[in-house]
């Protein structure tokens, strides 16, 4: 997917003005966020489990080369093929070549954020291969020609009416269908595609190094259909999606699913150990695992950002984030929205273009609190902000005015006399324009504030003067 990360402010304004989306986004907090909190409270030793989960990720990412090699060996031994793709172009090329070589006409996809990085469905359609998303949310946004709005609920921004209308347009169903009827409609359409598909592309929630298994977590069962019906199965994963052992997998599933939807376990957890064996009746003839870097090595190389690779893609940080709820998913301009997107998108798709993202946060810390593995997202945002201001020339992008403002700020704060005088001058200059001690409008760079809030005039007697007076009174 081509990043449009420079459009953040414009996207945010559009979303704020859209009452349907604002209404839909309430579900993110009232549903997912609240369910996650209840699930955590109902789980004995929940915080200790999160710590354990974090420790597993820390260990795995610190030894990523070792576990990737182990995974590769095991997948090979299980009869699958592993392909390492440095970037999305290489990953896409591998999959398209494979599809052509196997004479594939129809591909079914289950949810995969990495395939969104690749725009895989588009790329396939462009070369004449039918590519159908089988996750209901993904299916809806594919019909709408949009990018996912949320990591686990891609169509969360669409109202029931909008979906019904869209289905009516594309399939001729009654636009007054209820959610149950809509699901049945989608199910009927998808069922037919499942049966004629030659190839599937799925994501990977976890890859277990010691056994070479890949694990899919779904609630709709589409993942299992994808991994069992077509003759070729391709799984794509970001290189961080690895866990060392089955035992670790158990822990990670516990915290992932509770954090994502608040369920104790999803309706389906599918484990794939390579292609069909001679004695087996179902399953694909071929299994391919495509492991994608696409900038992740840059995260790994930077100790300030490495934690971003601990992410399980559960979406809990999005659900907790008051900014995400207001600006929505598309404003972030790339595959990953919300707090984790504000860290990952700039690194994976270019910081200069995405320079607004690290700043589009009040640093409230709700994301870190919600994160099952306690990723310190606010701290990483601070690091990226620092990069934008003082980083290498190719990422630096701050206007001259802002630099001057902070220089002046520094000057004013280096001596208490200057600080005090600054306040006095602001008070004197501002006084004629203030009403009842506040301003209704001020000029830039502070004009954003007074768009919706009055700004107080600095006090005519600051605290330091009052304290001094108090002391002299006390002694006198």
């Amino acid at each position: 997917m081509l990043p449009k990360t420079e459009r953040f402010k414009q996207g945010a304004r559009e979303t704020l003005a859209d009452p349907v989306i604002q209404e839909s986004m309430e579900a993110v907090y009232n549903g997912f966020h609240t369910n996650r909190q209840s699930a955590g409270q109902a789980t004995e030793g929940w915080d200790a489990q999160r710590d354990r989960g974090r420790a597993i990720k820390e260990h795995t990412i610190a030894n990523l080369d070792y576990y990737l090699e182990m995974l590769t060996d095991k997948v090979d031994a299980n009869g699958g093929n592993v392909f390492f793709a440095e970037d999305t172009a290489a990953a896409t090329e591998y999959i398209l070549d494979l599809a052509r070589a196997r004479d594939v006409k129809t591909v079914i996809k289950s949810k995969s954020m990495v395939s969104e990085e690749m725009s895989l469905a588009h790329e396939m359609e462009a070369v004449g291969i039918e590519a159908v998303e089988t996750d209901l949310g993904e299916y809806i946004i594919q019909l709408a020609g949009e990018a996912p709005y949320h990591i686990i609920a891609p169509a969360i921004h669409k109202s029931q009416d909008q979906v019904a209308e869209m289905f009516a347009e594309t399939t001729g169903t009654d636009p007054g269908q209820t959610p149950e009827e809509l699901t049945t409609t989608a199910r009927g359409m998808l069922r037919e595609t499942f049966q004629r598909a030659d190839m599937s592309v799925t994501g990977v929630n976890f890859a277990v190094a010691e056994s070479g298994s890949i694990v899919l977590v779904t609630n709709e069962g589409n993942g299992r259909m994808c991994t069992s019906i077509p003759r070729v199965h391709v799984a794509v994963m970001g290189m961080e999606k690895i866990v060392p052992s089955m035992q670790d997998l158990g822990m990670m599933l516990r915290i992932l699913i509770r954090s994502a939807t608040g369920q104790r376990i999803s309706s389906y957890v599918t484990m794939v150990n390579g292609p069909r064996r001679d004695e087996e009746e179902d399953g694909p003839e071929e299994f391919h695992l495509v492991i994608v870097d696409n900038g992740r090595m840059r995260l790994l190389a930077d100790p300030n950002l490495r934690e971003a690779l601990y992410c399980l893609r559960c979406g809990a940080c999005l659900n907790a984030c008051p900014v995400y709820r207001k600006v929505g998913g598309h404003s972030y301009g790339w595959v990953y929205p919300g707090p984790i997107g504000a860290v990952v998108s700039p690194v994976l798709s270019g910081l200069k273009q995405a320079k607004d993202l690290p700043f589009a946060s009040s640093l409230c810390g709700a994301c870190r609190e919600a994160c099952p593995v306690r990723i310190d997202i606010p701290n990483m945002l601070l690091h990226l902000r620092h990069q934008v201001v003082e980083g290498p020339r190719e990422v630096r992008s701050v206007g001259r005015v802002e630099r001057l403002v902070w220089k002046a700020w520094r000057f004013g704060n280096m001596k208490p006399g200057r600080f005090r005088t600054g306040g006095k001058i602001a008070n004197l200059l501002g006084r004629p324009f203030a009403r009842g001690g506040t301003f209704r409008r001020v000029p830039p760079p502070l004009s954003g504030w007074t768009r919706s809030r009055d700004l107080p005039l600095p006090a005519s007697t600051p605290f330091r003067d009052r304290f001094k007076k108090r002391r002299s009174r006390g002694r006198g």
């Binding site: 304004r13 008051p322 810390g365 601070l382 004009s447 954003g448 600095p458 600051p462 304290f467």
Partner: protein, 250 residues
């Protein structure tokens, strides 16, 4: 004292001093102090922030005893982020650690150091009002001061505390965020003020002057009767001489 209190809400500073003095604490205000450096640090201007932080350390390293700040944000800056900012400078980092260990947020100091019981047995806080508490983000999530303010407010006689829906959600201040992303910040503020209004309380209590200025500015623009006050102001009024003179509440 924080720079925002000094310049915009000096009454908060006076309340802090009043309450501490009533509890027998000797209070000093080192005159050299300015800002802790957080605004620049949070905006990515670490060089500027580091210089101002150095000045802060110069001023407070020369003093002794606990440093009490009526703000979670500034407290977190000194306690948590100074050490990151001075990562490459061992001596400065050590100085930051020593000063950081002496930093207490106001309610944290009252409850964890002085012990809130003193405040209640000795001062018998009392005031007639209805209030709702906004959980300031940095206080809660950076400093972990999560129960102290509610404990203090809950024991003020006559003060009816009304629960606010989503009280833990950010008010949208976020320093320069409120200016750079004014639309988003405003949407967050509107949600907060709607939830605060729905409580029917006459006062919103909060622990950070940034958030207070933000909510107060919004309330004023709305023409609302609700007011926002710092928890120090509440405790000051509740333990004030007026009440003591009257003895226990009727």
């Amino acid at each position: 004292m924080t720079c925002l209190v000094d310049q915009f809400r000096p009454e908060v500073g006076e309340s802090v001093v009043n309450v501490l003095e009533r509890l027998g604490v000797e209070v000093d205000f080192p005159e050299g102090q300015t800002c802790c450096g957080q605004p620049a640090f949070n905006s990515g201007f670490q060089s500027e922030a580091r210089e101002v932080a150095r000045h802060f350390l110069d001023v407070f390293d020369a003093t002794e005893g606990p440093i009490i700040v009526p703000s979670g944000s500034c407290g977190a800056m000194v306690r948590k982020f100074y050490s990151e900012m001075f990562e490459g400078e061992a001596a400065e980092r050590e100085r930051a650690r020593c000063v950081g260990e002496r930093i207490y947020e106001f309610t944290e100091f009252l409850v964890d150091v002085l012990g809130a019981d003193d405040l209640y047995t000795d001062l018998g806080p009392h005031m007639e009002d209805t209030a709702t508490y906004h959980q300031c983000c940095h206080l809660e999530r950076e400093l972990g001061v999560d129960h102290q303010p509610a404990e203090l407010l809950g024991r003020v006689k006559g003060l009816e505390m009304l629960p606010m829906y989503r009280s833990e959600v950010c008010c949208g201040f976020g320093g320069t965020f409120a200016v750079k992303f004014a639309d988003v910040s405003t949407a967050m503020l509107d949600e907060k003020l709607d939830n605060a209004a729905a409580t029917g309380a006459s006062t919103i209590v909060a622990g950070d002057t940034g958030c207070i200025m933000h909510m107060a500015g919004g309330l004023r623009r709305r023409g609302s009767d609700q007011q926002v006050r710092h928890i120090a102001e509440i405790l000051d009024e509740a333990t004030g001489p007026g009440d003591q003179a009257n003895g226990a509440p009727a």
